[in-house]
Symmetry: C2
Subunit: 418 residues, 2 copies
Amino acid sequence: MNLRNLNSPNADVRMKGFLTRTTVDDAWAWIGSTLPAGSRNSIEVISLKDAAGRILAEDIISEVNVPGFNRSMMDGYALRAEETYGATSYNALAFNIIGTSLPGQPFTGIVTLGSAVRIMTGAPMPDGATAVLPVEGTEIQNDMMLAMSEVSIGKHVGVIGEDVAVGARILTAGRTLRPQDLGVLSSIGRGTIPVIKRPLVRILITGNELLPAGTSPEGFQIADANGPMLYSLVNRDGGIADMPPLIHDNRDQLQAAMLEPADVILVSGGSSVGEEDHAPQILAQHGTLAIHGIAMRPGSPAGMGILNGAFVFLLPGNPVSCLCAYDFFAGRVIRALGGRNENWPYRRITATLTRRIVSTVGRVDYARVKLDGTAAEPIAVSGASVLSSTTQADGFMIIPANSEGFAANSTVDVFCYD
Amino acid sequence: MNLRNLNSPNADVRMKGFLTRTTVDDAWAWIGSTLPAGSRNSIEVISLKDAAGRILAEDIISEVNVPGFNRSMMDGYALRAEETYGATSYNALAFNIIGTSLPGQPFTGIVTLGSAVRIMTGAPMPDGATAVLPVEGTEIQNDMMLAMSEVSIGKHVGVIGEDVAVGARILTAGRTLRPQDLGVLSSIGRGTIPVIKRPLVRILITGNELLPAGTSPEGFQIADANGPMLYSLVNRDGGIADMPPLIHDNRDQLQAAMLEPADVILVSGGSSVGEEDHAPQILAQHGTLAIHGIAMRPGSPAGMGILNGAFVFLLPGNPVSCLCAYDFFAGRVIRALGGRNENWPYRRITATLTRRIVSTVGRVDYARVKLDGTAAEPIAVSGASVLSSTTQADGFMIIPANSEGFAANSTVDVFCYD
């Protein structure tokens, strides 16, 4: 890293390449030490309905019993259990039907000897009854209910607080809320839920050669690929993506956009050490360019730092480099700021390499592979610009800095893109 | 199944229990034979930016080359490769710098003998140049570039169509679009993408005992748990959830809501065979009640059929039964209608049971387990209403109909909720 030279007007150093490169481990260590443990996890309160997949910000203690009353778990007859003892289809015992208990509409009398209350699943148990005889074990004859099987005390009765008891801690802070969690939260009367705020991520796409995403490429211009890709990566990682229109290589415009408040700023393109690479210079001048140039392939011109309290990631314009640098560093920070697990968000499988894959010691490689079951075939690609290699691939493997690669038939870990 | 009796005014059969239950396999077979293979996968065209996670509806063939021109893959100097042969730091070779090629701003002259063009990553290769000498292998002296290493022909040049060639099929129909896919689609000029329409799923929550989701339970009323749970399950499975306010046990109102157009209708509550269970009756009267009562626990009062061309699922009001019946049947159909993989959307792991788990032959059991690494401990629960069992659980296992359960230390498959 040579911050001093970055702003030098001397033509000698305008385009100089990286003198040294930071290791991936050191970059992760910088992230780890810079991420303020939990303190940036701001909280917001949102509607229950929208809370699935969000990160719970506080422990949830129930203030109520669920259910708040004893209730039937079956359609049948509420009665005194001991009065059914001995009942079979050959020895039917008769009960007077003295009323009905429906969900939300309890029977208000008392179940006395020889009587039963017709009851539906979920309906309150009437006083005096100690069990529910399911309808399948009964018959109706002359307005009497004939019990043809027996039930023990408490059978088919859901008791107060059976699902959730007052004072129970039903969910703990940090949990990713599941559909059934919303059900339980709803059942204890929570209409709103405190969750970790999604970090605001500004995506700045730079490059004079770029046409807006989805425009047909023409002449010496190419269509922006990184914008739509980063936008959906940020969404995947729980960030709120804010993506203004393309910024052509205009230092003032880029600087203004980088200084707008955000939690994370991604700058795609112009991340290297050339004269036209404004972003590192802006970051060094107005904030901290902590790391610039990383011992990895692709993605080596990536950089990172802090500006106005925001994490800034300088992502190479080459799409595979951009994806790689995002996934190694930026995505990790976005997930952490949102209270999520910062580790790789990909399913990891153990696979067998179909052929040798070589790497250079001192550099981490991000190698795309195709999978056929657990056979992993490295995809040969010539350059970091071949984004289609990541669509043809089923996943990627990481070749550590201390490795020269892997022999054919090696067992390797593959992260699956799906 | 006894459709005839369902609408009988005879008190004898008003609350009768299920006479027979359909097996889970037969219910799946009915779904399989009723799902019209692909034909319900309507297509819509959406903005590229919103396409992540959606299902591509058509093969995508590129009409352009990406890149559309030869370009530099490094910051450095475009020159004639053979002129660098023999260059080292002890034998620097001098070149005239005759111009600059920047991304989107090509050098328009020709690179002749002894000359070089300063070039940035992504910039068009000037005519006459055959390679790029990276800046790290050069020095500047008296306005001349000194080459101190050699490059071979084609080195550091990305050629026309290297990423995507005209006519290449870059993605095939049915693919779940990944972030990098959006990048490639953007780079070939696709601003809009044909995807499978998300099925419209109406969620009807019934029950006189219910208060709206998130309301504090009171007296003999409980707060609706199933609405928020189903809403997020439908979203997870790619459906568009339409959830009108609670429907209290009013047959006309329920019937009107069930007859509104949709792809899938979920009715929670009143799914059984009691007098107040309107939904099965409406379905039998106005459509087809194909299956009612399933040999599973929980979830046995579930049913399904077709109404107005929509799949209708009758889900028990008990929250765990509701979750279980949704996941076994409804979710599967919603995913299939949206062009997604209809199989379990849960990560599956192999685990070892910590203790015996028993089941009844002839019935499929949905058993919640806690995981400690790969040790799976069954959660003992008394009833289908204990939704908190699914929040305490880390996943579930399915005990097949032909099984009496599993002994302690058995190896079992567990589906993880996370």
